[in-house]
């Protein structure tokens, strides 16, 4: 049975050239500490700076503005807490949205416990934030606006550039969680007007456990990990060299291959949506155009997502569902509830996230299995019979 991987939003596979770069670095005995002042240290330092330049190139930043981290979550924690601590004297008000990833939402909750105030801007039925609503929420206490670039569950791409202009005009620091978008769609930190941008390598065919935070020059921010002088004093600890080498290579490749990759996954997205039209009572979630090119979130009425996911997995098809089970009750996704999806329908949601190796034939096979699974589950659903 051939495995079909449609869960590129959870992690992407390693690009073959990233694997080569990693093996190459290992075989060259790349173990040195980039801070050591001898030749072994120098060669590690060179490799580190080369990777930094490549990551900077992906988002049109300057190399010194890139800080390597342990991944998207650390970058986000660093950005939000770092600014909150650095600007605490100016104010304690932060603006965000109600569809952010847990790493933003939970960071904000921690800050609220420490006395910060948070305003969450609601989104419309497509998951879009209204920049005017963000502007209206700004007070003289506001120190930070944090809005995700693209949503990880429904794929909607937010009007970051517009919010960036507002933030700049009102002199508020602006962070965007670009974890699921960076490397998959073009990002230019100047066009977006962000002061901080969080990214993760495993979203664009790099390794897991490594990410970066873009920090615009002169942005007031505290370090998140205190210690040595690594990363220009902004992130202490001997860097994860292998991860960073892999991330640098992945960023370089993403920069070059992005147009073809986008075209490819967009074709798959359109094809899947067309085929899903063959099944009754399916809702496609998110904005039809302002969205990630390779992600499709859809909700199937009368049945529950995990059952569908397991049935697909039994046929070797890996997808994700957005529901966590709380004491046996399933918690509906906060993103789907935020866009107004009915609770029961939200429980029946699957996310297909395409990558560069997926094919139309794989979608055909998945749709056949999906149809069978839906029929099987609806047949035993008391909700389906009752309609």
């Amino acid at each position: 049975m051939d495995m079909i991987y449609f869960d590129n939003i959870s992690a992407t596979q390693l690009h073959s050239k990233v694997k080569e770069a990693l093996i190459d670095y290992i075989q060259k005995d790349g173990f040195g500490n980039p801070l050591s002042q001898h030749r072994i240290g120098d060669s590690a330092s060179e490799a580190l700076e080369e990777a930094r330049t490549k990551v900077a190139g992906l988002i049109n930043a300057r190399a010194p503005e890139i800080v390597f981290t342990s991944g998207g979550t650390e970058s986000i924690n660093h950005a939000i807490k770092g600014v909150a601590f650095a600007r605490a004297k100016k104010g304690k008000h932060i603006i965000s949205t109600n569809i952010e990833h847990q790493s933003v939402a939970r960071t904000l909750r921690t800050l609220m416990r420490m006395g910060y105030q948070v305003t969450l801007i609601p989104v419309d039925k497509y998951g879009l934030v209204d920049p005017a609503a963000v502007e209206k929420a700004i007070t003289d206490q506001t120190i930070l606006i944090t809005v995700m670039h693209a949503n990880n569950e429904i794929g909607t791409v937010e009007p970051i550039a517009e919010i960036g202009r507002i933030a700049k005009a009102r002199n508020v620091i602006f962070h965007s969680d670009a974890v699921v978008s960076c490397g998959n769609i073009p990002i230019d930190v100047d066009e977006l007007g962000v002061d901080l941008l969080s990214i993760a390598a495993n979203q664009f065919y790099g390794p897991s456990g490594v990410g970066a935070l873009y920090i615009r020059t002169k942005t007031p921010i505290f370090p998140f990990v205190d210690g040595g002088t690594q990363e220009n004093g902004r992130r202490a600890g001997t860097p994860n060299m292998l991860g960073i080498i892999g991330m640098g290579k992945a960023a370089e490749l993403a920069h070059v291959e992005m147009p073809q990759r986008m075209e490819h996954v967009l074709r798959l997205r359109r094809y899947l949506i067309k085929r899903l039209g063959e099944i009754d009572e399916i809702t496609i979630n998110g904005h039809p155009e302002k969205c990630l090119p390779g992600l499709v979130s859809f909700s199937v009425a009368y049945i529950e997502g995990e059952s569908m996911m397991i049935m697909l997995d039994e046929e070797g098809i890996c997808v994700s569902t957005r529901s966590a089970c709380a004491s046996g009750s399933l918690r509906a996704s906060h993103v789907l509830i935020a866009i107004g999806t009915d609770y029961a329908l939200a429980q029946g949601t699957l996310v297909f996230a395409f990558g560069m190796d997926n094919t139309i034939e794989q979608i055909d096979r998945a749709v056949e299995v999906l149809k069978k699974s839906i029929a099987f589950l609806r047949n035993m659903s008391p909700l389906y019979k009752k309609k």
């Binding site: 009368y302 049945i303 529950e304 995990e306 059952s307 397991i310 049935m311 997995d313 039994e314 529901s323 966590a324 089970c325 709380a326 004491s327 046996g328 009750s329 399933l330 918690r331 509906a332 609770y343 029961a344 429980q347 047949n379 035993m380 659903s381 008391p382 909700l383 389906y384 019979k385």
Partner: protein
């Protein structure tokens, strides 16, 4: 995969799926908002469960539990069937992930509710469709709630996990 082989087997090939013509008792528990809903219908002959069918909306565990609980109850006297507990269902299934143990509660509850409904009908009482009864049958002390994120054991009605602080859904 988080499920045992027995759970997977019952999920993939569930027994006793469907509706009964003129059932003698029907038990319905859960609601779609929570993500699980189970209906069990029984036919009773000489105080024994002669036939039993279920319909379930829910996760893999909920479906496997429905299948197992109906298999366990089939042919048993009503008295015996009332003694089927959430724990015995979970045990027969080779265990359930902690955060899915609630599904086994649903199975035992739906069965017990169907039996109670049979007795009610026999006594000429009308169906109490809207009455939410969840803890009818025997519930052993082992039935506990767990945080779905960190598996910490929780007090029954805790809105937040006592360890990781994440919100849970209260039992409906």
């Amino acid at each position: 995969m988080q499920y045992s082989e027995t759970v997977m087997e019952h999920f993939k090939n569930p027994k006793n799926v469907g509706k009964l013509e003129d059932p003698d008792g029907v038990g319905e528990v859960g609601n779609p908002v929570c993500g699980d809903m189970m209906t069990i219908a029984i036919k009773v002959k000489d105080d024994r469960i002669d036939d039993i069918k279920f319909e379930t909306y829910g996760c893999g565990a909920a479906i496997a539990v429905s299948s197992m609980v109906t298999e366990m109850a089939k042919g048993k006297t009503l008295e015996e069937a009332m003694k089927i507990t959430n724990d015995s269902v979970a045990q027969e299934l080779g265990g359930l992930p902690k955060n899915k143990l609630h599904c086994s509660n649903l199975g035992a509850d739906a069965l017990h509710k169907a039996i109670m409904n049979y007795y009610d009908r026999k006594e000429g009482k009308e169906d109490k469709e809207d009455k939410k009864v969840e803890f009818i049958g025997e519930r052993t002390k082992k039935s506990k709630c767990y945080c779905p994120y960190c598996d910490t054991e929780l007090p029954k009605q805790s809105p937040f996990c006592t360890k990781c602080g994440k919100p849970t859904i209260e039992h409906k």
